[in-house]
């Protein structure tokens, strides 16, 4: 908890009990589930089905954040109570559960979703019933809503700084783009290609390929990579395919100390399944690594492990999920109200100095200003920080010239 001493609102803590905040009638004019001593939020992730692999970390982080907020006095003097629903890796289920959380449970905010497909499924529900969603995953951009705060990076934030870095420090000129075949990798690679061809001197894309989700045989494409000898393999492969890809890459004799590989889809969570020894030497570009050396992060990692076990790892999205409840708390306290409209209006400019990734701020477009970082995978499954942008990178969900 040391890291949170930086938050001004906590200075007056600890409070003896809940219920000492402003009157409910003043802070809740739209009938949300807020009482004098409690406020209800929703957690909506898949804990069953294929996506459970990825979403487990987010659920854990959100529960940790809620527990910490409660321990430090709650929100406007109210204890956060959460209702957890299972999206079951099924997009219509997500929409149905979102409706339940908003209409039946009257949640003041919902932390949830992971894949873009699930977010797209719940978006109309949140807009229709006027709810507030905190969405943690790095994603392709091209979206902005009054009812969503995107706590992960959108594509340009994650991609451009990494490409510039690899171009500058490795002198990379030729890129081979790989991805799983769905919207995020395709949109991301489109942005990457535009940037490589339009903004990097003399650089070009020598191959671009997509594989069905769940593809497990990569020997053919590995041979193609051997044939084209690109300076950089740019990989956005997700899920179980990831494991197959890196294991086969290693087995095919591609030595990552000589061949540069840059990925934006492998966090510490995925390395658990891939095996650190299979991916050691690869570079990843995102905004958070568990190994980040700052006081906020050290406290966060220690608390997370204390709550969920020594062996759990924390990836980029897990950290972004942790930001959700905190940003919501800070916003509510700035707005002085739980009302969705007031929270949405108060969101731009909210600063969270206690974020494990360092300082973050909400932009007018409801995405976060954040730093972009490049890490190098080590055999123990952790990333070593190699590079970080000097300043916060502005989120730009509708990038001009990249579509």
């Amino acid at each position: 908890m040391m890291g949170m001493a930086a938050i001004p609102a906590l200075a007056m803590l600890p409070r003896p009990s809940f219920g000492a905040g402003p009157a409910t009638s003043a802070v809740n004019t739209t009938g949300l589930a807020v009482t004098d001593s409690e406020v209800t939020v929703g957690i909506l992730h898949s804990v069953t089905g294929t996506m459970a692999i990825s979403e487990t970390g987010s659920v854990q982080a959100e529960k940790l954040a809620i527990e910490q907020i409660n321990a430090s006095g709650g929100v406007l003097g109210r204890k956060i109570k959460f209702i957890q629903e299972d999206g079951a890796s099924d997009w219509p289920t997500f929409a149905e559960k979102a409706k339940k959380l908003l209409v039946n449970d009257k949640c003041a905010a919902v932390m949830g979703c992971w894949t873009s497909a699930s977010r797209k499924a719940v978006l109309p529900v949140f807009e229709q019933y006027n709810g507030m969603l905190y969405y943690p995953t790095f994603y392709e951009g091209l979206e902005q809503s009054k009812n969503v705060i995107y706590t992960g990076q959108e594509a340009t934030q994650q991609i451009i700084a990494g490409l510039d870095w690899v171009n500058k420090t490795k002198g990379a000129k030729t890129f081979y783009l790989l991805g799983s075949d769905y919207i995020w990798p395709r949109t991301s690679n489109k942005i990457a290609r535009k940037h490589i061809e339009g903004h990097l001197q003399g650089a070009k894309v020598v191959g671009e390929e997509y594989f069905p989700l769940g593809h497990t045989q990569f020997n053919s494409v590995i041979n193609k990579i051997k044939l084209t000898k690109p300076d950089v393999i740019y990989a956005i492969i997700v899920g179980g395919s990831n494991v197959a890809f890196y294991k086969q890459l290693k087995a095919a004799g591609i030595d990552m100390s000589k061949q540069t590989l840059l990925t934006i889809s492998v966090t510490e969570d995925e390395i658990d399944g891939i095996g650190g020894e299979n991916i050691a030497g690869a570079y990843a570009c995102m905004k958070y690594f568990q190994s980040l050396d700052n006081a906020n992060n050290k406290a966060f990692v220690a608390d997370f492990k204390k709550m969920w076990g020594e062996k759990t790892v924390i990836g980029d999205v897990t950290q972004a999920a942790y930001l959700g409840p905190w940003l919501w708390k800070l916003t509510v306290e700035k707005a002085g109200s739980f009302d969705i409209d007031k929270v949405a209006a108060a969101s731009p400019g909210i600063e969270f100095k206690g974020a494990p990734e360092g300082y973050v701020r909400i932009h007018e477009n409801h995405h976060l200003w954040s730093k972009t970082r490049v890490g190098r995978a080590k055999a123990d499954g952790q990333y070593e920080l190699i590079y970080e942008t000097a300043d916060l990178v502005e989120p730009d969900p509708f990038p001009k010239g990249y579509q």
Partner: protein, 308 residues
């Protein structure tokens, strides 16, 4: 695409690509064998095949952990123990399932589809509850990773060769058991005429149980071997199930030769096309070709000749 390369380079790539095709072939045969036995010999559509494979993968993971903790000196050889244990675990679970579920459905073969699908969901959730929702990383001995440098330019993945040898071995054993052993004769007799086989004194229930167990056990070995090339998670079995059914159905359900021939055709088509176009397009074209061939030959490549 090939303009800038020397003949030597191209030769090396084609050699490696040939091996890539053969490795894919072995993977297909290995995952389809267990299903082919169960589907072909018993007519049971085992939708939980992938989950039996993943049980083998989890057994391998546990064995790997156990060896690291208790017998680190023997770690390089743990994989063989793991495969044996995977066979036993998946095989026993298979026999249990046959006794508890499948044996009650022999008169309604189509219902086995639904029942085993339900079983697959139950098993997935069981893995998730027991081993956690996250994928586990199976650590392999060093000698199994990396590649064999055949020449300067040609590198063959060792785990690929391992899968190939394993596939050949298992295929030979299965062929021997089914076609030359006394037990194999009983199995085939039960397939051809259950009532008559019973009448001449074959214990059909026992034959069914062991056949199902054998199929599941082989799935377990396959799952164990696939920890080298793929992921181990509660739902990883789903990655294989479609391809597995494809191979078995395309080959002709009741034929071991058909399964092998179909695995060969599909893998070669897939890996060759993948080399010339993107992975997704290759898959689409492979599937289209299979659909077209199955429309012309609904019984698959090789069909058992039986009097109808």
């Amino acid at each position: 695409m090939f303009g800038d390369y020397s003949i030597g380079d191209l030769g090396a790539i084609f050699a490696m690509q040939g091996f890539a095709g053969l490795i894919l072939f072995s993977v297909y045969v290995l995952m389809a064998l267990g299903l082919a036995i169960i589907f072909g010999q018993m007519g049971v559509i085992n939708m939980a095949h992938g989950e039996f494979m993943i049980l083998g993968a989890y057994v391998t993971w546990m064995t790997s952990n156990a060896f690291q903790h208790f017998l680190p000196a023997l770690f390089p050889g743990y994989f063989f123990v793991a495969m044996a244990l995977a066979f036993i675990a998946s095989g026993s679970l298979g026999m249990l399932v046959e006794w508890a579920m499948i044996s009650r459905l022999y008169k309604r073969p189509l219902d086995t589809l639904l029942a085993t699908w339900g079983l697959s969901l139950i098993l997935q959730q069981a893995y998730r509850s027991v081993f956690g929702a996250r994928e586990v990383g199976v650590e392999l001995p060093d000698w199994m990773m990396g590649s064999w440098q055949a020449t300067d330019a040609i590198q063959i993945p060792i785990n690929g060769m391992f899968v190939m040898c394993l596939t050949i071995l298992i295929t030979i054993v299965v062929a021997y058991v089914l076609f030359l052993s006394r037990w194999g004769k009983q199995v085939r007799a039960v397939v051809q005429n259950r009532v008559m086989a019973g009448a001449v004194g074959i214990n059909t229930e026992k034959v069914d149980r062991y056949t199902f167990g054998l199929g599941c056990g082989i799935a377990g070995v396959a799952g164990s071997a696939f920890t080298m090339i793929g992921s181990t998670g509660p739902t990883a079995g789903q990655l294989y199930i479609v391809d597995t059914f494809l191979v078995v159905v395309f080959g002709g359900a009741a034929s071991l030769i058909g399964t092998i021939a179909s695995a060969f055709t599909i893998s070669q088509a897939q890996s060759t096309m993948e080399f010339f176009m993107s992975g997704s397009m290759a898959k689409v074209l492979t599937l289209l070709a299979i659909v077209a061939i199955l429309m012309l030959r609904p019984q698959g490549l090789f069909a058992l000749k039986v009097r109808k």
